[in-house]
């Protein structure tokens, strides 16, 4: 391989490549111009002020928050027993079931979106609404939340739960006294990530929403109008900040949890 410094330089360039284009959004969102062009015209926060004044944007934000919250609570509630089952129980057909659970990760979201669209509209005759968006988001968040929880549950010794049973705690009590506190960092992680997935998701929301917009759908609608670009930049930056903060919090909680529970491994 390359010499040490070569690889380090590569890593720095890589980070620049990954972050660079995305950081263009907040950069231009503070630029005092209607166009996203160099040279920069001067600092302003007016795009944010204008954006904030827009009724539909606030409506879309509220919708996204509601959906994100509902989706992550429901998905995590479903993912906890699923992860426990996969990591702690022996039953036939487990690999097949696990692959099926992870399927939404690889199926192109447009296929998921149109499949849901077809069954909702043509077979069930349910009108599209934020509810149908939320249903689609549960489907795509579930594999993520389940794997986060699984890796957490695999991270601690199974005999801890056996010890609890051995010391007289029935299964449910064992869950609350041992499994839950130890899995808590994973559960928090799952809640945050489930929220981010729903909050950021565009394709499924675009297909399955009725008259109400979510934030990404609203943002997308703004991209068609060149004069709305500054507002879109400001909104995009806002979404970036929200997900970045949540990811960092989630990762720190997860890492801390993992480190402190493997004391004195020998």
């Amino acid at each position: 391989m390359m010499k040490g410094w070569g690889l380090t330089t590569y890593a720095v360039l890589f980070i620049a490549f990954v972050y660079g284009p995305v950081l263009i959004l907040p950069l231009f969102s503070f630029n005092d111009s209607t166009f996203a062009t160099f040279p920069l015209a001067g600092f302003t926060t007016r795009h944010y002020v204008e954006m904030w004044g827009q009724g539909p944007m606030i409506g879309a934000l509220v919708n996204s928050l509601k959906i994100g919250l509902g989706v992550t609570l429901l998905t995590t509630a479903i993912a906890i027993p699923a992860a426990i089952s996969i990591t702690r129980f022996r039953f036939p057909g487990k690999p097949a079931i696990l692959s099926m659970l992870m399927l939404p990760l690889v199926v192109p979201s447009i296929v998921l979106a149109v499949a849901l669209l077809v069954i909702i509209l043509k077979f069930l005759n349910i009108p599209l609404s934020l509810w149908t968006v939320a249903a689609g988001h549960v489907l795509i968040a579930l594999p993520f939340c389940t794997s986060v929880l699984m890796s957490r549950l695999e991270g601690f010794d199974r005999s801890l739960e056996e010890a609890s049973r051995d010391l007289g705690s029935p299964p449910l009590q064992t869950f609350w006294r041992v499994t839950f506190p130890l899995a808590l960092p994973g559960i928090i992680s799952s809640l945050l990530l489930g929220f981010i997935i729903s909050f950021d998701e565009f394709v499924i929301a675009f297909f399955l929403t009725g008259t109400d917009n979510t934030l990404p759908v609203y943002l997308y609608s703004q991209l068609r109008f060149p004069n709305r670009l500054p507002g879109a930049l400001a909104l995009g930056s806002l979404i970036l900040v929200v997900s970045t903060v949540l990811v960092i919090v989630s990762e720190i909680i997860r890492k801390r949890g993992v480190q402190s529970d493997n004391p004195g491994d020998f």
Binding site: L7, P21, F35, A82, F91, L103, P108, V114, I197, E251
Partner: protein
């Protein structure tokens, strides 16, 4: 789903040996019980909708009326031949309805290029993270995780801003006096789509590749050096083969979804950069031909699945994975 794997030992129920192993069945039932909410979600929101999509693909739409009688017309139309030749990229198609086929091939090619680019870009980074970073590893991982979770739409949008006619590159180069007029070839073409896809997905594969590198026992590397391998040889003989299954899995996690991507071609592809996902979207909306849209998306999924399985079989993926699992 009943558990059939409990061995039925002869004489197990005979007198004097009163026990039958009911515990495994009980455990299996409990396990499946805990999984049932997730299974219900998968069934009602994945299996049934895909089933509905299949059913729909056998219907037909003419104007505003949906004809729900069973017919293979959509598929027949997709594969119908025609005297009329359609030229595309030096290839001649004798198809009655050549658009889906052309877009499919184009999508596969673009997605393949993006996937190769993603893996080539991500592998050295993952290698660096696994073997070179000693301190602050957690911080590096978080830095690489954040892009993974930031909105896909925003990552694509940012390239529109970067590559656009009035975008960052053009205006930057112009303000530096390097060019007089904006470069038009930056945006709205297949290359822009491939670049954007590579960028948007690269963050997804660093961590899986990193995990497969991190799992490699370090003493194995020391052993290879001890037996006379140079650093490069050791990489080729130990690290690369052992990280291959993880890398291939990561590559497929990019390839499969990007073939059907819709956002990227829509935002940065222009007319030249459309992909099959855009067609599906149009069939469902503007063209108001949901049955054909269903047929196109199903054929797309089948082609992807067939290609992936063929590829994995050809390279002996399962054997490879079994070997490096040890």
């Amino acid at each position: 789903m009943s558990s059939q794997d409990t061995p039925k030992t002869p004489g197990a129920t005979a007198p004097g040996r009163p026990r039958r192993d009911t515990s495994r069945r009980r455990e299996a039932l409990n396990g499946l019980g805990l999984l049932s909410p997730a299974l219900i979600v998968m069934l009602s929101m994945l299996a049934l909708p895909v089933g509905a999509l299949v059913v729909m693909s056998f219907w037909t739409q003419s104007g505003f009326t949906l004809d729900t009688s069973f017919t293979l017309d959509n598929y027949r139309r997709l594969f119908s031949t025609s005297e009329r030749a359609t030229e595309w990229m030096g290839m001649t198609f004798h198809l009655g309805y050549p658009v889906p086929a052309i877009l499919m091939i184009k999508s596969l090619a673009m997605s393949l290029m993006a996937t190769v680019a993603v893996v080539l870009l991500a592998y050295p980074m993952a290698y660096f993270l696994a073997f070179r970073v000693k301190r602050n590893k957690a911080a590096w991982i978080i830095i690489l995780t954040i892009p993974f979770w930031t909105s896909y739409l925003l990552r694509v949008f940012s390239w529109k801003v970067v590559l656009g006619y009035n975008g960052a590159i053009n205006s930057g180069l112009m303000s530096l006096g390097l060019i007089d007029a904006p470069l038009e070839f930056l945006l709205y073409n297949p290359a822009a789509v491939v670049i954007t896809l590579s960028h948007a997905w690269v963050a997804f594969v660093v961590l899986p590749i990193y995990v497969s590198l991190e799992k490699i026992d370090r003493s194995m590397l020391e052993a290879a050096s001890d037996l006379g391998d140079s650093k490069f040889k050791r990489f080729r003989r130990i690290v690369l083969p052992l990280s291959m299954p993880g890398t291939i899995t990561a590559a497929l996690m990019v390839f499969i979804p990007t073939v059907g991507d819709y956002v990227t071609p829509q935002l940065v592809g222009g007319t030249g950069g459309t992909m099959i996902g855009s067609l599906v979207q149009q069939l469902f909306t503007k063209q108001n031909n949901a049955p054909m849209g269903a047929a196109v998306s199903l054929v797309m999924m089948l082609i992807i699945a067939a290609l992936v399985l063929t590829f994995l079989t050809l390279i002996g993926y399962w054997k490879m994975r079994a070997r490096s699992a040890r």
